[in-house]
Symmetry: C2
Subunit: 409 residues, 2 copies
Amino acid sequence: MKGFFKVQTPDQLFLKLDRFKPLAPEEVPLEESLHRVLAEDIVSPTHLPQFARSTVDGFALKAKDTYGASEKNPAIFKVIGEISMGRISELALRDSEAVKIATGGMVPEGADAVQMVEYIEWVDSHAIHVFKTLSPLENVIQAGEDIKGGEVVLRKGSFLRPQEVGLLAGIGKTPIRVFLKPEVGIISSGDEIVPVEQEPSAGEVRDINRHTIVSMAKEAGGVPIFLGIAKDRFSDLKEKIGQGLKESDMVVITGGSSVGTLDLVGEVLQSFPKTEILGHGLSIRPGKPTLLADVDGKPFLGLPGHPVSAMVIFHLFGRPILKILSGLSGETASGMRWKARAARNIPSVAGREDYVRVKLEEKDGILWAHPVFGKSGAISHLVHADGLIRIGIDEEGLEEGEEGEVIFL
Amino acid sequence: MKGFFKVQTPDQLFLKLDRFKPLAPEEVPLEESLHRVLAEDIVSPTHLPQFARSTVDGFALKAKDTYGASEKNPAIFKVIGEISMGRISELALRDSEAVKIATGGMVPEGADAVQMVEYIEWVDSHAIHVFKTLSPLENVIQAGEDIKGGEVVLRKGSFLRPQEVGLLAGIGKTPIRVFLKPEVGIISSGDEIVPVEQEPSAGEVRDINRHTIVSMAKEAGGVPIFLGIAKDRFSDLKEKIGQGLKESDMVVITGGSSVGTLDLVGEVLQSFPKTEILGHGLSIRPGKPTLLADVDGKPFLGLPGHPVSAMVIFHLFGRPILKILSGLSGETASGMRWKARAARNIPSVAGREDYVRVKLEEKDGILWAHPVFGKSGAISHLVHADGLIRIGIDEEGLEEGEEGEVIFL
């Protein structure tokens, strides 16, 4: 690593991410809004429900006419009709009259409550007995009780889950203004790297990082564009990085197996105008050679070549950057932090943050983390792991039973 | 509800899901295998790594030549060359010779360990001092140490995360045999339901369920196909259900607002050959009218019309069915179960399972569940919720601080 880049802590580098900004908005139909991020506050144009609706199957009536009713002393009501679903009823209730109504039906004029079918009995085909008193508004959801017209129902920066999509459907909001999905140019590098389809000669290895990083970029809401395998040469790196910076919103390169590659990548970046290297070298394991730059406003992330290191660093920095570009508000971008207890002693070295692969096991509501040992190049160990447990920069490891933050993989 | 269907507990109904079987397999290129489920055991055709590789930047040498070396008494080595990445080296080491090597480089013949660059010093341009002893195999990952050729590396039924995709890339496995993604025919029903684009007249409501259930089916790995809004009439329901059963692997209908709709749906189902109603009526809230059937081997799920109820039941039954059709092995299909503590008393009624909408908050590694109250039709409350907390069938609620299982929404 070049001497003029000071090794930073992961937290120091993380703080620099807030210079990046969300992409431009676009409009999508409601059907395509799932897992997108709102680029506008949503104001409801309408009450929801739009009219008073019954929440049960029963009889709409005036609550006051049930006062005093009991099993032994039922109140009697004249049934003057039935509410059809989806229609306005012409019916208007007078005292001691009732109208049959199904769940979701429009409560007719004059009625202020609905008695459940369980608490009535037919006297004859035109009259019912009611055995239980009701309060006004019981079993009725009033117009605007769920959502008021003019109310802000969802904020800019909200992630759209199925229930938010349902809410937008309920108020008839389509199309929706969301942030563009970030396009991520992904480059593999290294003279020894060959495409998966190719039989490697001695000394060559297949390109694992392309596939893990493309997959992780998809999971983080990005649109990955693979730009090919660059040789460890200035000219080849410059061409592919240049293409990525031109065609995508963010560029990620995996640095071959050699630590030196990211130095060369740093030199290539400096040859583009308005490049600022934000960090090169992190006090973290795995992932020390990590490179982060801002090239004329676009984030550039250089990942170590070890597949495991590349995945850890992409998780810690690539994902948060993609979430920022996607327009997620800060709080959501960081996500919920989970804790697990070490199932045995997990050693570490103070002065760097350690992310140890663990297999997670839940027992009586407590999450236990079993370390999965193995050399850092081994992808099979990552397959056996469910997550990573973090050992802080000032800690010398976790003792059995001690708690640490976990990341799910 | 028809009297001849006995109300079941959710657990009783859940046990009946194992009659459904995974769909047929198909082949997909590695690039499209993320989040698919393996339909074959994967046997590695090759060792990984395929040759002994250095795990550090340094010098390959014979470990025995470092024995006794220290800061005060370094061992001296003649540097006979450098390993190029991606090439077979012609070099073969003799005693007290060293070769420069980068991380991932192929360890040359004669060498059995790699000394890190931090523990050497150049004497002149052809010789180095080594200040630290090494054991044989130190800083070397041997051929087959990660994965052995002939070994089963992934089992049929495995869900492919980024790291599994990476492993498949590493062993050159493409295309991959995975289970087909289940196509889910989705029908909304109810005379009062209008499409989102349409301005509802009085008494009408927009189709929320289409959008929530389509979204949830996507999240569960299905391919949703929306078949339209059916009127509450035998003929209309029969036509749309018939179409769904013909064209998709599973059919889901939301039952309008009226409890009676699912009775009518039950009658329609009985008119198809080889229909077995597995359940109609559950001791659960919300979601009591739930209908589950097996129509000539295809799962049919009838959901209540309330958006919130429909989402809860889809989560509890629709998702697990989709995971079975997708070929996920049982253990993975059920998923990890999380617990949270009630942040205040949450009342319930014994004799039914209650799923109460909650906002989850993590404090010092403990998850607290704050109930979000509101009438069951209110979609806005679901937007404020992060999950559901389960209150068991024999419990009368959760006391403040008491633990319950939670589902994330």
